[in-house]
């Protein structure tokens, strides 16, 4: 099976969060629990739905991730990369605790920051 992590927006501030190892919701995808089997995915999605009913998060869903050569898991889809790491147009708004947030799209298409290629 592909690797997945579970993501949502936190209810009170709307920010993107990822389900961590202990079921807590983390700001960084680097702290996300990577799910390797259908069974764990199913269990964690059920747990995420419980978190939604407990007013912790909104709209949880799973995203596919792939491992890079540093052993970090990154979203497969382009949209999810921007969602995970922040807007590509404001360095200040990109997720601060993800190193290299302005290079995260290098392997998809060039990153441009304030017009500088």
């Amino acid at each position: 099976m592909e690797h997945h992590v579970i993501t949502a927006n936190r209810l009170n501030d709307g920010l993107v969060v990822f389900m961590g190892e202990d079921g807590c919701w983390e700001n960084s995808i680097l702290d996300a629990q990577v799910l390797e089997t259908d069974e764990t995915l199913k269990i964690c999605l059920a747990s995420a739905n419980t978190a939604e009913q407990a007013q912790i998060v909104v709209g949880p869903y799973e995203i596919e991730v792939i491992e890079n050569d540093k052993g970090e898991f990154r979203p497969l889809r382009f949209r999810e990369r921007i969602r995970a790491y922040g807007p590509t147009t404001h360095a200040d708004f990109a997720t601060q605790d993800v190193p290299g947030h302005l290079t995260h799209l290098d392997d998809v298409s060039p990153v441009y920051f304030n017009g500088v290629g």
Binding site: L11, G14, V58
Partner: protein
């Protein structure tokens, strides 16, 4: 400027209190997200890609220095120090916390602002010509009528749960500076032969996945009957518009599927039944509203200001800004100043809190304490003395807001795209920034003249790409960003929907493709022709051949 009366103030404050209760119930779990969603949308609050987004209305685009300062403070306190002006005379904040929004709205209410009906399936913020009250070609101040429509449409019980959103724009000029023909209802104020005021009504315009130019449903609705006519249109739409398919629920589809003549007959029948009701707008009420929009206390000035003329002669940069951004005013000795928010530093339409504060000061000093927002994501000082233009230009330059590119290739309408929007397929802002960099040379921009380039990151067309002289639409091709080019659109009085020129280009090729089209225009243009004029003269084929030469080779 319009000021809240007792009713407005009470209503807005009650709405803040109501939403405070709704947020508290959402946080405690009494309301599910499904139940809460339509309630937050009614108050302009979205949940976007990264965070909540709040859209604040600037009715008919007019606001004061005090209101701008409040927006600056909100940007600092509740956001990340920025605001973003949209294509419908709203400002968006991209990072508010849900738990803070009730306090944010309470602060907005302190300066007579709100986020009501900036989202959801209701009649949205009514927009108007940003030059209203200042431009020589208008037959009346369109804001008076936009305000009358706003009062009628605000919390209208019959039209609070429409099949889809509903947008109205008002203009009083033959020149269309409010993209009126692409609204659900577009109103052009006219005078008849007897000198009476009335409205040419266009219905069924819109962009999105099914772009349509509106059609004239009535050539002259007398002023006093405006609201009953609008009510008739809305009622027919609300009863007969489709609700089975979200993508076919706008009035443009009803006009298209029913046919204009049949729909007009239905509207007229409904109108006849309600024309002589309480909806008649009495003359005293029109005059009461008109007073709010009375011209500011203009001074009697000479038509030519020698100091201004000298500065233009001495300073080519100032002269270029005047040529690009300044428009003649109906009051002798004054001018309309466009302030471009398409600068080198920020995404199109973005403005920092510091710039907002500085602009508030400048508006007080130079433009009778009044600011306008335009549908092209720029700002306007409507009433500036010619003799003070140089000082204003200098001060705008100090805060990075003297870019002289109004109407030029870098003055693009650009949607937030995938950098912010949950619906987008591709990014828009980085493409705009790369095009701006490519055309950074102002001499070149002025040589190209008026060139409207518009970019949308998905088919919903928030970046108005269908009406760009050159339009770019972002499409997802197997997970990669591609951009489809349309040519020949216009959102102005020569309204047209652009045509797709050919297969989409990858992100890395799209700027070169745009440059190729512009180069071709420069090569074949006649004296005085804009890009759009040349395109209309020669048609799509030569542009297509230039853009896709390999197709010609293959055919040979």
């Amino acid at each position: 400027m319009y000021r809240y009366d007792e009713f407005d103030r009470k209503f807005v404050n009650e709405r803040v209190a109501e939403f405070r209760g709704q947020v508290a119930r959402r946080m405690s779990g009494e309301l599910s997200e499904e139940e809460f969603r339509p309630l937050r949308l009614m108050n302009g609050l979205y949940l976007q890609l990264h965070a909540y987004m709040l859209r604040v209305a600037i009715p008919y685009g007019t606001f004061s220095a005090e209101q701008m300062r409040k927006l600056a403070q909100i940007a600092r306190t509740y956001d990340r120090g920025y605001g973003h002006f949209t294509t419908r005379q709203n400002i968006q904040f991209n990072w508010p916390k849900l738990e803070d929004v009730p306090n944010l709205l309470a602060e907005l209410a302190d300066v007579e602002m709100h986020a009501i009906q900036t989202s959801g399936n209701c009649i949205r913020n009514v927009t108007a010509d940003p030059y209203a009250g200042a431009i020589v070609d208008e037959v009346d101040d369109s804001r008076i009528w936009a305000e009358i429509v706003r009062q009628w449409s605000t919390l209208h019980p019959e039209f609070t749960f429409l099949g889809r959103k509903f947008k109205i724009a008002v203009s009083a000029s033959d020149y269309d500076r409010a993209v009126v023909r692409f609204h659900d209802i577009g109103l052009f104020i006219k005078k008849n032969d007897a000198g009476e005021t009335g409205f040419e009504v266009w219905i069924g315009g819109g962009l999105g996945r099914t772009p349509m130019i509106g059609k004239i449903s009535n050539e002259f609705v007398p002023a006093e009957d405006l609201l009953s006519y609008l009510e008739a249109v809305l009622r027919v739409y609300n009863m007969n518009g489709r609700r089975d398919n979200k993508y076919k629920a706008r009035i443009k589809i009803l006009v298209h599927e029913t046919g204009l003549d049949e729909l007009r007959a239905q509207i007229d029948a409904e109108w006849a039944a309600i024309k002589d009701s309480a909806l008649k707008v009495p003359e005293y009420e029109i005059e009461r509203i008109r007073v709010y929009f009375a011209p500011p206390p203009f001074e009697t000035l000479n038509a030519v200001d020698r100091g201004f003329e000298t500065k233009k002669f001495e300073n080519p940069e100032f002269s270029r800004w005047v040529n690009g951004n300044v428009v003649a005013h109906k009051q002798v000795g004054y001018a309309i100043v466009n302030i471009s928010l398409k600068t080198d530093d920020l995404p199109p339409g973005d403005i920092t809190a510091d710039q907002m504060d500085n602009l508030a000061d400048l508006a007080e000093n130079y433009s009778f304490d009044e600011i306008r927002a335009t549908h092209e994501q720029n700002l306007v000082f409507a009433h500036v003395k010619q003799s003070e233009l140089f000082e204003l230009w200098r001060e705008l330059g100090e805060i990075g807001l003297a870019m002289p590119n109004i109407g030029k290739v870098t003055d693009m309408i650009v949607c937030p795209g995938l950098d912010y929007c949950g619906l987008a397929n591709t990014r828009s802002i980085p493409v705009a920034q790369r095009i701006s960099k490519r055309y950074a040379d102002l001499d070149q921009q002025f040589d190209l003249g008026e060139l409207k380039l518009k970019i949308s990151g998905c088919i919903n067309a928030c970046g108005h790409h269908h009406v760009g002289h050159i339009g770019l639409l972002g499409v997802d091709r197997r997970g990669e960003e591609f951009y489809q080019i349309t040519l020949g659109g216009s959102g102005a009085e020569d309204a047209a929907i652009g045509s797709i020129i050919g297969p989409a280009f990858s992100s890395s090729d799209i700027v070169d493709a745009v440059e190729e089209l512009i180069n071709f225009y420069v090569e074949i243009r006649n004296q005085g022709e804009r890009f759009l004029d040349t395109y209309r003269r020669v048609g799509a084929a030569p542009f297509k051949s230039r853009l896709y030469p390999e197709k010609l080779d293959a055919a040979a």
